[in-house]
């Protein structure tokens, strides 16, 4: 019998699509992370103010931690710049021949902006 069509996540992740494919995966992860963060943030605010729940207090402590803030800030900056890259390439298909350069440009923007802000956040956290 023919082996049915099946693409397990492990096989999909092993496909060596390179930089653009990883940018797409990171875009999904960062987008989902932000949605979960905002949803939990609203729920935790409600939980603390209206119910005084332990769970909400625990979550508040978690998202105020430096590691979590660094993670969510990376999600925001990467998602924004990568989204901009995709909007530009989708709007002007003639620019697609420079797609490799766009990936480099994207990281050239994301990494310094993230590093600078992360450094300030760490300094504030240590100083505070």
């Amino acid at each position: 019998m023919t082996l049915p069509r099946r693409v397990p996540l492990s096989a999909a992740l092993r496909y060596r699509g390179g930089g653009p494919m990883w940018a797409w995966i990171l875009h999904r992860i960062s987008g989902l992370s932000m949605i979960i963060f905002v949803a939990l943030h609203v729920l935790a605010g409600f939980g603390i103010q209206q119910l005084g729940s332990d769970w909400a207090i625990w979550y508040n402590t978690l998202y105020e931690s430096l590691a979590f803030q660094l993670f969510i800030y990376f999600c925001v900056i990467f998602h924004a710049v990568n989204g901009l890259r995709i909007i530009i390439l989708d709007t002007w298909p003639a620019l697609i021949k420079f797609q490799r350069e766009f990936i480099w440009l994207e990281w050239a923007i994301v990494l310094p902006v993230y590093a600078l802000t992360a450094w300030i956040m760490i300094q504030n956290s240590l100083g505070g």
Partner: protein, 234 residues
């Protein structure tokens, strides 16, 4: 040099599940992966099954995953892989019939759905239908497709949902949509504006990087998308 080949095996008559088998073959750095598969089949295991026809990168029969990326086995040299350990697997996202042979019918069904043929209802002229070099150049890139399926089966959108027409079908629609002699652009654009058409493309570029003919597939998809959005073919 000695090359170790790890090959995906599945015999529908004897196997319940697929597995991998490893073969060691003597090879030259300038040998193609197809040569190694022929060597295994000819000298070590005659049951190994794979498609091949022209063996010169024209027919598109031997597209497969080589070291994790879609390639034509007849176009990849051992020295290009930079290793003497080679893993060969069938294309992702299509049913596997046996070993490295996949069922291409779902792929061709999508191909046929975009009407990949010349449509012109005017009476045929006495001589040829004239076209300027510029008009011909408009769709030159997409005439190069050999329907190997490397692009469509490298696309995560197609992996997630095989109702998506896929990059190859869009490339072949592009070839006629932007042909100044053709009159079927409107109906093709209507088909591709469907929920399983061009808007399933997320600009991931796997298709462009996998194409053995180096067609700028993502660009072609972008141009079709723009034609749908603006209603213009310029």
């Amino acid at each position: 040099m000695q090359v170790t080949l790890k090959i995906f095996r599945y015999n529908p008559e004897t196997d319940k599940k697929p597995h991998y088998e490893t073969y060691t073959v003597e090879a030259e750095p300038t040998d193609r992966v197809l040569d190694l598969l022929e060597k295994v089949k000819g000298e070590q295991d005659g049951t190994l099954t794979f498609r091949r026809s022209c063996a010169h990168g024209v027919c598109g029969s031997d597209a497969m995953r080589i070291n994790g990326v879609n390639r034509l086995a007849c176009k990849v040299l051992v020295q290009d892989l930079g290793t003497n350990r080679i893993t060969v697997e069938p294309l992702l996202g299509l049913p596997t019939i046996k070993d490295l042979v996949v069922d291409m019918e779902p792929f061709f069904e999508h191909y046929r759905s975009v009407k990949p043929y010349f449509i012109n209802n005017d009476p045929p002229p006495k001589k040829e239908r004239l076209q300027s070099p510029e008009e011909r150049a408009r769709f030159d890139d997409t005439t190069k497709c050999i329907l190997c399926g490397a692009c469509t089966t490298s696309c995560p959108s197609f992996w997630l949902d095989d109702q998506y027409v896929g990059p190859a079908a869009i490339v072949n629609a592009h070839r006629f949509i932007f042909d100044s002699r053709d009159q079927g652009a409107e109906e093709r654009l209507k088909i591709l504006a469907d929920q399983f058409g061009v808007f399933r493309c997320h600009t991931i570029f796997n298709c462009t990087l996998a194409c053995p003919r180096e067609i700028q597939i993502t660009r072609a998809i972008g141009e079709v998308r723009k034609a749908i959005a603006t209603g213009r073919l310029d």
